[in-house]
Amino acid sequence: MILDRVFRAIYPLIGLALILAAWQAYTQFFAVNRIILPSPMDVLVASNDNFGLLLRHLWPTLLECVLGFMLAMAIGVPVAVAVANSQILNLTLYPVLIAMQSVPKVAVAPIILVWFGLGIESKLAIAFLVAFFPVVVDTATGLRATPKGLLELAQSLRASPLQVFWKVQFPSALPFVFAGAKVAVTLTVIGAVIGEFVGSNEGLGNLLLTANSQLNSPLAWAALVWLSLLGMGLFGAVALAERIAMPWAKNGGH
């Protein structure tokens, strides 16, 4: 058990170390211009020099991600239930969902700004839009994979649709709900950044854009790295929630 925990901490670090090593080697070996790709060292220095700045901009982005994710789950799961249980809703809703999904968010930003203004709402809207689809598709697939026997058991007990959902379909679909949640939570990072691109005065995405416009690549890449770490943290949180929520799946993990 203890060893297991050590492994869980060590291997991801190895993964990260591998990325860094490849990155350092590449910039060094090809003497890449800093403006195109700064070395990890440059980025580390920039990250250190601007620690306060980055931290200040981390919070709004984190908030957008978390709220956007919660919104995506809160709306995505019920939609998945509707879609999984009714063939008609399934056929009718999917075009709407796909339209929402496959439209480039940057392009619809104007109308989103008009609707939601320049505050956090517009970022939430975009984070939500980006994260929502995988939740629906994965959850719906999971719900549909509920063993027929268990549904019949619930049916034979005349469980209400809500009971069927909460006590049978949902727990049975949990691995897939979590798969959707994992994809979604990393997408909210992208969504938040897009939202900040579109209109915002704070957040790592905003900082990234500012640094980029000043051709301050090390700072821009520092923001990128922080965004990645944010993504990993959020993913890790969901994976942890999964382990806690599914004690019966011993080798659950991600």
Binding site: L150, Q163, K167
Partner: protein
């Protein structure tokens, strides 16, 4: 032999009771397959089940026993014919039913106890007393100490016993069981027989169960219904003339062996 049901024009036979609990009238089921093919699973099954009676269903594998039970439970719709329970036409699951499936059908995310409590949760009947009852049942079927284990940690027979407890934990008026003791050793099986008879005596529940064990059917039932090959229809009713409570000793009586032979012949087993 059984008394004809006077109410019915078709040759139905009351499963041994004074008041009728359920009536099956020319129940039939045809499964449509792709390409215009079909499987005729049930054909013209007609009889009545008296209140508080215990009917054992025997029949060749694949003849349609499960299908019949599922139609009675409202989990499947008959292609033709009707099922009437307490005077009401069945067209979906109705209250106060309990179904023991052919597979244990446990929720792998719930512990044993929580699996047993599931029907109570659905019915909003989880109380300290009902939890106590669930624990008692688990003890009775020999699963003391396994309350907090997950189904994946149980043997096949243990899972089946959990499924049994789940059906017995609430007061159903009709108990439908599909090969409920199939995975148990003889000793456990006998214990379960006595448990079932005991519960039936105390609660007056009506029971229909499928089994492949002729002696089990005879030991437990008021009436044994033997299904024919697919498409299943009822080949023979055998009223079992032993009094309740039943004793293990009855298994060695001549009459028991005669019943066995009668059922065996109906099943096409030459002895």
């Amino acid at each position: 032999m059984m008394s004809k049901d006077a109410l019915s024009a078709t040759p139905t036979e009351a499963a041994g009771s004074n008041t009728v609990f359920a009536r099956f009238d020319r129940v039939g089921k045809i499964f449509k397959l792709p390409g215009d093919r079909q499987i005729d699973a049930l054909e013209d099954v007609s009889f009545t089940l008296g209140r508080g009676k215990l009917v054992g269903l025997l029949g060749p594998s694949g003849c349609g026993k499960t299908t019949f039970l599922r139609i009675v439970a409202g989990l499947e719709t008959a292609t033709y014919g009707t099922v009437t329970i307490e005077g009401k036409l069945v067209n979906g699951p109705h209250p106060n039913f309990a179904f023991v499936f052919q597979q244990a059908n446990l929720m792998n995310w719930r512990t044993v106890l929580k699996n047993v409590l599931f029907p109570l949760e659905i019915r909003g009947e989880v109380t300290r007393a009902s939890i106590e009852r669930a624990r008692d049942l688990l003890n009775l079927v020999g699963l003391h100490g396994f309350e907090d284990r997950y189904p994946s940690e149980l043997s096949g027979g243990m899972q089946q016993r959990v499924a049994l407890c789940r059906a017995l934990v609430y007061d159903a008026k009709l108990l439908l069981m599909d090969e409920p003791f199939g995975a148990l050793d003889e000793l456990k099986r006998m214990e379960m027989h006595d448990l079932l008879l005991d519960i039936r005596l105390r609660t007056g529940v009506s029971v229909m169960f499928v089994t492949h064990s002729i002696s089990e059917a005879i030991y437990l039932s008021d009436t044994v219904a033997v299904f024919s090959k697919r498409p299943a229809t009822i080949a023979r009713f055998i009223d079992i003339d032993f009094p309740y409570p039943r004793e293990n000793a009855m298994r060695y009586e001549m009459k028991f062996t005669e019943y066995e032979h009668e059922a065996g012949r109906a099943l096409g087993i030459a002895r």
